[in-house]
């Protein structure tokens, strides 16, 4: 079997011996939820940017910074590049003028509300994505499956999740074989867009049919091994909280208290104050 048969999960996880890798997946998952919720509670690009930098520091500790930066850059940089200027001009609730820019003799006004909204949202999404990647890229598949068991999710869901990630490489492999078979039977690749769509269809049909057959065979094999037995399944993996996890939780509690304090004193949007400073000059 070629290396494509190796699980996608196995290849996705960056295997290192860092504190982040060693921590329990539950801790990382709770951190993902915790920081995402706070990123949404506070409508503040400064605070959200601080969250993002904090996660990137953790990603650096976990030696996955490059991969996380690449993924997040692809999503949030185009948004900032196009969204912020457009919203600064056209956001419906724009009222606080920052400056005017002369373009081709036109005076274009740039407003603070649109600028802040346009900057906060990609940063919020960035916080969610980076914290999710921090969890996903530093958690090995066995721990991930154990986590799903711990969360007492229905076994069929756990199986669907784990099997999909294991079997996708096989599907890709098969698609390659079918494509090569079509090519050797004279399928042309130097064609226009319509023909290319047609080529795609003649790849998809045999792939779907063969996948359905294989699914049935696998279902039979699974049933023969007690898949539908109405008992609690035994999870073959184990996960345990360690000192690093407790330290992480203490850190989250401290930051939660600080953020609650900020919320009480400044409200959900410290931007309000920044805006006041801005207006004050």
């Amino acid at each position: 079997m070629s290396s494509i048969g190796t699980s996608l999960l196995r290849r996705s996880v960056i295997v290192k011996e860092t504190l982040i890798h060693k921590s329990d997946p539950r801790t990382k998952f709770i951190f993902f939820l915790w920081i995402s919720i706070f990123a949404y509670i506070f409508y503040d690009y400064v605070l959200t940017a601080i969250f993002l930098i904090g996660i990137l520091l953790l990603a650096m500790m976990g030696k996955i910074l490059k991969r996380v930066l690449l993924s997040v850059a692809v999503i949030i940089l185009p948004w900032i590049a196009f969204g912020v200027p457009i919203l600064s001009v056209l956001f419906p609730w724009n009222s606080t003028l920052m400056f005017k820019l002369e373009i081709f003799g036109w005076q274009i006004p740039f407003y603070y509300e649109g600028f802040a909204w346009g900057l906060t949202w990609p940063l919020r999404i960035g916080v969610c994505i980076t914290s999710a990647l921090l969890f996903y890229l530093t958690t090995n598949p066995a721990s991930l499956i154990a986590l799903l068991f711990k969360f007492k999710l229905p076994f069929r869901f756990i199986y669907a999740f784990a099997a999909a990630t294991q079997l996708i490489p096989l599907l890709v492999d098969e698609a390659g074989t079918i494509y090569q078979a079509q090519l050797s039977r004279g399928l042309r690749t130097d064609v226009g867009i319509i023909k290319r769509i047609w080529n795609f269809l003649i790849l998809i049909i045999p792939l779907t049919l063969s996948s359905l057959t294989k699914v049935q065979i696998r279902a039979i094999a699974l049933e023969s091994r007690g898949f539908s037995a109405p008992v609690n399944k035994t999870c073959l993996y184990d996960i345990k909280f360690k000192n690093i996890d407790y330290a992480f939780f203490i850190g989250m509690v401290i930051f939660t208290l600080i953020l609650i304090y900020i919320y009480i004193i400044y409200g959900f949007s410290p931007i309000v104050h920044l805006k006041q400073y801005f207006i004050a000059g």
Binding site: M1, G5, R10, A221, E223, S224, R225, G226
Partner: protein
């Protein structure tokens, strides 16, 4: 072949007939008993009902496929119509043709794959570990425990499939053409494991196209054609029915066919056709001496 078979019946087909929802009369009025410790080979052309026969042993037919059934199949004292596939899975283990497609997809390593069935049945983790170790050693996959099942060769994957069944310690092992998609080395690996299981006294049902191997492995052979039993007898007797086999499109063992042709050509009477190489050497030595 064992000279004396146990008298304990572990499989009992009683007037069993089956039709799939989309295909009628796949098995017709099957009546047979299989005894504990027996190795039963199943032969027949494509569409004879070999796979359906195998799947009726653990309740896949009819519970998974639906369709209509007449008669009963009693396996290890359990009526397959009255028990679920999960209940039957500890009594009957099935190994299928395609090595890769019977991998669970959930297990990340060989040892986890072997323990998959037991974990589905909720066995305690310690017991699973013990059984997994035992099964892996039995099929000769020691040293590959931490490898991904998808990285194994076809022969290794099929041995892994056998190990997954062995770990569940079923009373009966069913192998549905386990070597048909394997290369010669893979076939050799699988048959070697089977020979060891036979020596240990396991009850084995094996549908196989490698008829020459069946001559070495089986006590009796069931010859199916168009869903009906054509013959059910000792392996030698069934494999010696050359014209019947040829008529159904099945190639008998080469040495058996050669003996049949020589008998005709030389005009001599041979009482017992050889089905194994050693028997053929002995017979031909005698014939050559006479000539």
């Amino acid at each position: 072949m064992k000279n004396v078979l146990s008298k304990e019946v572990v499989i009992y087909f009683q007037n069993f007939s089956y039709s799939y929802p989309t295909k009628r009369n796949v098995l017709i009025d099957i009546n047979l008993k299989v005894y504990k410790g027996e190795v039963l080979g199943i032969i027949g052309p494509n569409g004879a009902g070999k796979s359906t026969f195998c799947k009726s042993l653990n309740g896949l037919v009819p519970h998974f496929y639906g369709g209509t059934v007449k008669g009963n199949v009693i396996v290890a004292g359990m009526d397959t119509l009255e028990h679920t596939i999960a209940e039957l899975s500890t009594k009957v283990g099935i190994v299928f043709q395609e090595p890769e497609n019977q991998l669970s997809g959930l297990a990340l390593t060989v040892e986890e794959e072997v323990g998959f069935g037991l974990s589905m049945l909720g066995f305690p983790r310690e017991l699973i570990k013990e059984r997994v170790k035992e099964a892996i050693e039995k099929v000769g996959l020691k040293g590959l425990e931490r490898r991904s099942p998808f990285e194994l060769s076809g022969g290794q994957q099929q041995r892994l499939a056998i190990a997954t069944i062995l770990a569940m310690k079923p009373e009966i092992m069913v192998l549905d053409e386990p070597t048909s998609l394997l290369d010669p080395i893979g076939k050799y690996e699988v048959f070697s494991v089977l020979k060891e299981l036979i020596v240990e006294g396991s009850t084995i049902i094996i549908a196989e196209h490698e008829i020459e191997e069946l001559a070495y492995l089986t006590d009796r052979i069931l010859f199916l054609k168009e869903g009906k039993v054509i013959s059910l007898d000792e392996a030698r007797n069934v494999l010696s029915e050359i014209s019947k086999l040829k008529e159904a499109g099945i190639d008998p063992p080469s040495i058996t066919e050669l003996t049949y042709l020589l008998e005709k050509e030389l005009g001599i009477k041979i009482d017992k056709y050889p089905i194994k190489l050693s028997e053929a050497v002995k017979l031909y030595s005698e014939v050559l001496k006479i000539k």
